[in-house]
Symmetry: C2
Subunit: 414 residues, 2 copies
Amino acid sequence: MSDLIQKAELAKSGVRELASQTEESKNQALYTIADALVKNRKFILQENEKDVAAARERGESDALIDRLTLTEKRIEDMAEGIRQVVELPDPVGEVLEEWERPNGLNIKKVRVPLGVIGMIYEARPNVTVDATSLCLKTGNAVLLRGSSSAIQSNRAIVRVIHEALRETPLPETAVQLVEDTSRETAGKMLKLNDYLDVLIPRGGAGLIQSVVQNASVPVLETGVGNCHIYIDESADAEKAINIAYNAKTDRPAVCNAAESLLVQRDWAEKHLSGLVEKLQNAGVEIRACERARQLIPGLKAAVEEDWGTEYLDLIISLKLVDDVEEAVAHINRYGTHHSESIVTESQGNAAYFQQQVDAAAVYHNASTRFTDGFEFGFGAEIGISTQKLHARGPMGLPALTSYKYVINGNGQVR
Amino acid sequence: MSDLIQKAELAKSGVRELASQTEESKNQALYTIADALVKNRKFILQENEKDVAAARERGESDALIDRLTLTEKRIEDMAEGIRQVVELPDPVGEVLEEWERPNGLNIKKVRVPLGVIGMIYEARPNVTVDATSLCLKTGNAVLLRGSSSAIQSNRAIVRVIHEALRETPLPETAVQLVEDTSRETAGKMLKLNDYLDVLIPRGGAGLIQSVVQNASVPVLETGVGNCHIYIDESADAEKAINIAYNAKTDRPAVCNAAESLLVQRDWAEKHLSGLVEKLQNAGVEIRACERARQLIPGLKAAVEEDWGTEYLDLIISLKLVDDVEEAVAHINRYGTHHSESIVTESQGNAAYFQQQVDAAAVYHNASTRFTDGFEFGFGAEIGISTQKLHARGPMGLPALTSYKYVINGNGQVR
């Protein structure tokens, strides 16, 4: 039997036992894992060093090596992340609705775990720990498939998790690492409908699109954010400049950062130069439409491709528009349904924008940077969904659950 | 441009307009369509006759010809079905949650339409009407791809719908029929992620599995039901016999009919012969395990394949088990996560069964036949989901919606 199928069977073998764990058992197991990671940090760091050395030898980028590298501090942060998940309420077992039918049948809609969650991710070993804690807290088993570049680190982490689980009531089978990191095996994992209830890809746009295009297992699509700030005619200049500046520069590499600025032409005539100056002073490269370049000479010209690009960098595209209708049409054409914001003092235009823009989070007078599990008050998240089925926007613990109908009768037949 | 892409673009072109329709507009449009179908019944019947004649010529089965054939009565039933959808509450616009963050951001979780729904179905022209009414009521556009055997009927129905829509505020583009019914085009439709938000296959297990295996668009998997009745040691004999009989014989061709009977061995010694006799008197063929055949000589032997078969016919498999644990293990191995029932007077065993069985609907002392939108009180349904993401069990109107977060601030930045 292949490594993949063997691990998938192991993961599935424990799902019934996992689904019936109490919140206390699950929390205790999470604490045990957190402590074990810290206690075994030397072992994990030593194994991680092998991955880092191999990556250096292959001449990988500094960015990849940074994502790959663990430190004592990073291991402690991972453990702290697990303890934060312990603090979140357990959604499993919640009775979402209950009603009685005229024939006397009592119907309860009860939250249950999904079963086995397949995680496909890149070089960050911390995803191994994050995914494990969120899945275990919600009573799910997890089949982890990380990058080959992190295989020694992931093996070490999962070994520590297994040792910790042995001291708890949770089945050790609940966390499984696919050690065969070949592309062929990844392709097979996408088709494991008999074992996996959902696949969650975490990583760049290429990885996510490859999973979406090729998986037959249902996918939770996360992450790609070509987010816009639209500054309307009546926008307060200070709010508008602060919001655009924050959304672009606070953390450019994350999915809720702004990638494109749409500015109503009359507002632009009065205030655009101030905004451009502030962005340029922060080192932001602006790629502008022709009308904006006429207003502010010297800006680099945007090409068609810019409107659809998620830069994840200190670059922003800029387009002047006639009105909110043009802004909405542009966003619905080029956006990725993640986070979009209008800055305006017009309630009518705000309402129109929030109704018509097709995105997970639509803001009025606030930065797109708030689309985040912690900022929404959900706590740790498994990702930000940009699809419309199942879960949209920041996905907290309930996104890792399904429900079943539990129906009680006394002999009813049709 | 191909017929498929042209229709997909038309469907998508109207989604923003559709999403902002009031409940009144949508209801008025549905009434107009219902009336138009009845008014134009001669035209529809005349076009349907072409499909039926062609099917006869090809030597199609009586069952297919029956599903394909329209009559005045069937058209009136379709119109009546639309009027029932009008009566259901419109879920769109519902504020599911609303809260305020410490920084003053107000967050609303608001129900919105999915966008464009792709329906792939077989020879029943009534699905064209059912899908249209459920999609329009929830503010969705629909891209219909029916069977080539029903193409004249579907064209006629969609032509009548378009004429009706022209008299309403809804965009005529909201309902689109793919007229190229080639297999190649169906394959392309499964990959239309830029146009479709979800695919819903309606039909036999072959069609559904082909869509699940090949689609990159998210799928709502419906329908296949290998449902079990488990009769526990303490089951009341009358309840058990009535429930098993009803679940098998009331309507054997539907997905919530029972396909397999698991009987605790002690109960079987006392009461199985009575149950078997009642089933046989109704013409049910029983395919039994070895132990059951020793108890009741003359029963046909079951083979391994029987445990996984959805007969959709007056056939049932029968297996004796030692206890509820064995029953649950069998169901979780062979079931399709649709509907499962335990008959028992033991609350403990009922609770164990309902907790451990992994299915959309898990019954205690009731027939599996109740898994149905009307029986649950939801009204008309788009299908019964056997997957765990997004929606499980009978899918009423809310299953055709998503949500967005609408966030209002006064200049907040991170």
